[in-house]
C-alpha cells in the first residue's frame, strides 16, 4: 500500500505540481547558481541557477510519459507479435520466434543506445530505442502464454469446429492474456524509466536543456564531490522511489493474478 501511495504521489506531483509551483524549470539565473535548499528553492539551484525542484517535477513528468509510451507501444506491438507468433503455424511461427530471439540476444541498453544514436539523440529517439528493446520481452512472454492457451480443450474444440483465427483470438485468447500483459507492463515500466536515465547518463536520450532525471544525475555528479550534492541526489531518489513503487506493485499484481508465476521477469 505504501507503494501505491508513493506512485500516486509521484504522479500527482508530476501532473499537478506546475499548477502550484510556477517556477520555470528552464529559467536561467546566473546570480543564483548552486544555491542550497531554501524556501524559495526547496531543492536548491543548479549550475545555471535553475530551480532543481521545478526540474525535478519536469523530470518526473518526462519519466512517467516516456514510461507510459514505451509500455503502451511495447505492449501493443510486442503483444501483437506474440499473439501472431503463438497462433500461426510454421513457417511463420518459426520465423517470428527467430526474430524475437534475435532481438532478445542484445543487451537492452546497447539496443537502446544504438537506436538512439541512429535516430539522432533526443527523447524521441531514446523512447524509440526503449520500445524496440521492450518488444521482444512482451512478444516472448505472450507467445508462450498463447501457446498454453491454444492447447486448452476449449480452444482446440473451437479450432475443430472451424472457427477462424481472428475469432478465436478475440474470444478465447486475448481476454486471457490481460493478466500476463499487465504484469509484464508493470515491470517494463520501471525498467524503461531506468534505461531512459541510463541513456541520459551516457549523453543520449533527453538533451539539455531538457530536464531529465538521468542527465541531472550526471550533471550533479561533479558537484556532489564539491559539496553541492542536491543537484544529483534528488533526481536519483526520485528514480528509486518511482521504480521501487512500480516494481512492488508489479509483484503485488503477480501475486494476485498469477500466483504460480512460471516465467521470468523482464
Amino acid at each position: 500500500m505504501v507503494a501505491s501511495g508513493a506512485l500516486l504521489a509521484v504522479v500527482l506531483l508530476a501532473a499537478l505540481g506546475p499548477l502550484f509551483w510556477t517556477v520555470s524549470p528552464n529559467q536561467v539565473n546566473l546570480a543564483e547558481t548552486l544555491q542550497p535548499m531554501s524556501s524559495a528553492h526547496p531543492m536548491g539551484t543548479d549550475d545555471l541557477g535553475r530551480d532543481v525542484f521545478a526540474r525535478f517535477l519536469e523530470g518526473a513528468r518526462l519519466s512517467l510519459m516516456v514510461g507510459a509510451v514505451v509500455v503502451l507501444a511495447g505492449a501493443t506491438i510486442g503483444g501483437a507479435l506474440g499473439v501472431v507468433a503463438g497462433m500461426s503455424r510454421q513457417p511463420v511461427s518459426g520465423f517470428l520466434g527467430w526474430v524475437i530471439n534475435t532481438l532478445l540476444s542484445f543487451p537492452t541498453l546497447m539496443l537502446a543506445m544504438a537506436v538512439s544514436v541512429a535516430l539522432g539523440a533526443g527523447v524521441f529517439a531514446g523512447a524509440a530505442g526503449l520500445v524496440l528493446a521492450a518488444i521482444p520481452w512482451y512478444a516472448r512472454v505472450l507467445r508462450s502464454e498463447v501457446l498454453r492457451i491454444m492447447s486448452r480443450p476449449s480452444v482446440e474444440a473451437a479450432v475443430v469446429a472451424g472457427a477462424g483465427s481472428i475469432r478465436i483470438a478475440r474470444r478465447n485468447v486475448i481476454p486471457h492474456l490481460m493478466p500476463t500483459l499487465l504484469i509484464q507492463a508493470a515491470s517494463n515500466f520501471g525498467a524503461a524509466i531506468l534505461t531512459l536515465a541510463a541513456l541520459g547518463f551516457v549523453g543520449l536520450g533527453a538533451q539539455p536543456p531538457q530536464a531529465e532525471w538521468g542527465s541531472m544525475i550526471t550533471g550533479g555528479l561533479q558537484y556532489a564531490l564539491s559539496g553541492q550534492w542536491w543537484i544529483g541526489v534528488f533526481p536519483g531518489l526520485g528514480l528509486i522511489v518511482l521504480v521501487t513503487a512500480t516494481t512492488v506493485l508489479a509483484d503485488r499484481a503477480r501475486d494476485i493474478l498469477d500466483p504460480r508465476g512460471s516465467y521470468v521477469r523482464s
Binding site: 528552464n26 529559467q27 536561467v28 546566473l30 547558481t33 549550475d47 545555471l48 544514436v117 539522432g120 539523440a121 549523453g203 543520449l204 538533451q207 539539455p208 536543456p209 555528479l221 561533479q222 558537484y223 556532489a224 564531490l225 564539491s226 559539496g227
Partner: protein, 539 residues
C-alpha cells in the same frame, strides 16, 4: 548444521573479506608516495582520450600535444617566463630544434635547413635529410589536417612545392609563395620527422591512405619513447637515451585518460595525479582554494564562440548579426561559465595568436536595448527563429547555448538548441550545415594569418561559416606573404577593424588554458603543444 550456524558462518566470511580488503587498501594510501613512486616519475591525468599517434593524421589538440613529445621537428617555439615560477612558450619566436640553422632566400620562397650530423632515431638509424624529406612528403600526400597544419593553412594552392635532400645534413624547401608562418607550420607536430625504414616496413606511405601501424605506434626520435600504450586508457613514456637534445627532466611519464569529471577531481584532490589537464572549470573552481593543488593559467589561442552562418537569412543581414552580438551577456558568462578563466575580446584573431591586435579587439558591452532597436531596424519579418547546434561532449558549449537562449528571448529571438553527439556535430559543423554553432575553437597554428585564412577568407572551403569581409582578402594575402612581422601586424590590425564592422561571428571569450598541479610539482611549462621535457615533481 542448523541454518543459524550457516548464517553466522556466512556473516563471518563476509566480514573477513571486507576487513581484508579494507586492510589491504590501507597500505597504498592516496596522496602520499608509495614505494615505487619517486621524482623520476610523473603522473598526468588527461581528460580527453587520444585518438591517434600518427603525426600525419592527428587533428585535435590533445593528440598533437602527446605526439610532440615523441617526435623531433625542425623548428620549435622559444620559451619565456610565465607566472608564478612556471614557464610558457613564446608564439612570436621560432627557434631551431632539430635544424641547427636555416637560411631564407631573398624572395622568401626557398628555405635551406642544416641538420646535425649525428642525430638518430630510437632504433639507431640516422635522422637525416632523407628522413625529413620522407616525412614531409608523407604528410603532404596524406590529405588530412596534418597537411593543413604543416603548410600553415596555405593550401590553395599548396604552399610547399618541393622538398629536397641534396645531402645528409641539408634540406631545401621550395615554396610557391612567401609565407611568414612557414616556420611555425614546421614547429607543429605535423612537422614531425618519422623513421622511413619503420614506416615502409609497416604499411608504407600511400597518398590519402591512413597507416594503421603508425596510429598506435611511434617511429620517431623525440625526447620520449613510447613504453606502453593502451588507447583511451593509459600511456607510459620513458626518456629517449639517444635523444639529440637535452635529456628530459623527468625520465618517466605516466598518462591516465580520465574522462569522468568527478574522477578527475577526486584524483587531483588526493594528489594521485601530479598534473591534471582538461579539468572542467567548475571543478577547478572548487579546488582552487584547496591546499592540495595550485592552478596555473596561461593565455592560449583558444576561444568559445557562436559561429553564425553568414549566408543564411536572417543572418545575412549585418544588423541582425550585430544585434545578436550585442545581446550576449559577456561578463556574466565569463564569471559563471568560465569562472573567470578567460578574457573578453571582439575580433577575428584570438589573443595568444601572433598578429592579434589587442588594442583593436576591445570587447563589446552587452546592450539589449540597442539589440532590440537593431532588430527592428533590420526589417526582418516576424519573430526570428534560429537553431544552434552544440556538441554534447563540450559541456561549456552546452551551458553557453542554454544561457544565450534565455537572454535572446528578451530581444525577440527564439533560439532552439540542438545538442548533437560528436559524430553528428563534427560533419555538420565542418560542412557548414548549420545556422549557428556554439563551440570551443582555436587555430592549429597560433598565428593570425592561419586563423584568418581558415575562418574569414572568402571562398575557402574550410571557412564553414562563409564569412566574407570586403577588402580583407587582399590585405590578408599581403600579410601572409610579407616576411616583415611589423608590416604583417599593421595589416592584421586593419583587417581586424574591417571585420569588426561586419559582425561576422561572436567570440564569446578567450579561454585560458587551465592546469591543475599538485603542490609537489616543482616546474611546469605551458605550450600550445605541451612539452613534458621540463616538467618536474618532487618526491
Amino acid at each position: 548444521m542448523s541454518i543459524s550456524k550457516y548464517r553466522s558462518l556466512a556473516l563471518a566470511g563476509c566480514a573477513a573479506v571486507v576487513l581484508v580488503a579494507a586492510g589491504c587498501t590501507a597500505s597504498p594510501t592516496p596522496g602520499t608516495s608509495s614505494p615505487g613512486e619517486s621524482s623520476d616519475r610523473m603522473v598526468i591525468d588527461w581528460a580527453t582520450g587520444n585518438t591517434t599517434l600518427d603525426p600525419a593524421a592527428a587533428c585535435n589538440q590533445d593528440d598533437l600535444s602527446l605526439i610532440h613529445n615523441m617526435y623531433a621537428t625542425l623548428t620549435k617555439y622559444d620559451v619565456r617566463e610565465g607566472s608564478d615560477g612556471t614557464s610558457e612558450y613564446d608564439p612570436t619566436k621560432i627557434v631551431p630544434a632539430l635544424a641547427e640553422d636555416w637560411e631564407v632566400s631573398e624572395d622568401g620562397k626557398t628555405y635551406t635547413f642544416t641538420l646535425p650530423a649525428d642525430a638518430v632515431f630510437s632504433d639507431g638509424s640516422p635522422m637525416d635529410a632523407e628522413a625529413v624529406k620522407y616525412s614531409v612528403e608523407r604528410v603532404l600526400g596524406s590529405g588530412t589536417c596534418a597537411a593543413f597544419y604543416l603548410q600553415a593553412g596555405a593550401l590553395e594552392p599548396p604552399l610547399i612545392e618541393s622538398v629536397e635532400a641534396p645531402d645528409a645534413t641539408t634540406v631545401v624547401f621550395e615554396l610557391n609563395r612567401p609565407n611568414g608562418d612557414f616556420l611555425a607550420g614546421l614547429a607543429t607536430p605535423a612537422g614531425s620527422i618519422v623513421n622511413p625504414a619503420v614506416v615502409e616496413a609497416n604499411g608504407g606511405s600511400k597518398p590519402n591512405t591512413p597507416n594503421q601501424y603508425m596510429a598506435s605506434n611511434v617511429a620517431g626520435g623525440g625526447a620520449y619513447l613510447l613504453d606502453s600504450y593502451s588507447p583511451g586508457d593509459k600511456v607510459v613514456l620513458k626518456a629517449n637515451p639517444d635523444y639529440y637534445g637535452e635529456q628530459p627532466a623527468t625520465p618517466e611519464i605516466e598518462i591516465n585518460y580520465v574522462t569522468e569529471p568527478s574522477n578527475l577531481l577526486l584524483q587531483a584532490r588526493s594528489q594521485a595525479a601530479d598534473v591534471t589537464l582538461g579539468m572542467p572549470l567548475q571543478s577547478v573552481n572548487t579546488i582552487e582554494s584547496d591546499a592540495c593543488c595550485r592552478i596555473v593559467t596561461n593565455e592560449s589561442p583558444s576561444f568559445a564562440q557562436i559561429a553564425l552562418k553568414n549566408t543564411v537569412a536572417p543572418l545575412d543581414n549585418p544588423k541582425v548579426r550585430e544585434a545578436l552580438t550585442l545581446a550576449v551577456p559577456y561578463e556574466d558568462i565569463l564569471k559563471n561559465v568560465a569562472y573567470g578563466y578567460g578574457s573578453l575580446f571582439f575580433g577575428p584573431v584570438v589573443p595568444g595568436a601572433v598578429g592579434h591586435d589587442a588594442d583593436g579587439s576591445a570587447p563589446l558591452e552587452t546592450d539589449l536595448d540597442q539589440a532590440k532597436k537593431l532588430i527592428a531596424e533590420a526589417g526582418v519579418d516576424g519573430p526570428i527563429k534560429l537553431t544552434a547546434i552544440v556538441n554534447t561532449t563540450t559541456p561549456i558549449a552546452v551551458q553557453l547555448a542554454t544561457l544565450v537562449q534565455g537572454v535572446w528571448k528578451e530581444i525577440g529571438v527564439d533560439l532552439k538548441v540542438e545538442a548533437l553527439p560528436p559524430s553528428e556535430f563534427t560533419p555538420r559543423y565542418t560542412g557548414g550545415d548549420y545556422q549557428l554553432a556554439v563551440n570551443l575553437e582555436g587555430p592549429g597554428v597560433p598565428s593570425a594569418g592561419y586563423q584568418l585564412t581558415l575562418t574569414a577568407q572568402c571562398g575557402n572551403p574550410f571557412n564553414n561559416a562563409e564569412v566574407c569581409v570586403d577588402g580583407a582578402d587582399e590585405l590578408l594575402e599581403q600579410a601572409r606573404t610579407t616576411t616583415d612581422p611589423a608590416e604583417a601586424d599593421e595589416l592584421y590590425a586593419e583587417i581586424t577593424q574591417l571585420w569588426r564592422a561586419q559582425f561576422p561571428r561572436i567570440p564569446v571569450y578567450a579561454a585560458q588554458h587551465v592546469t591543475v598541479l599538485s603542490k609537489d610539482v616543482t616546474h611546469f611549462e605551458y605550450a600550445k603543444f605541451l612539452d613534458f621535457t621540463t616538467w618536474t615533481v618532487s618526491q
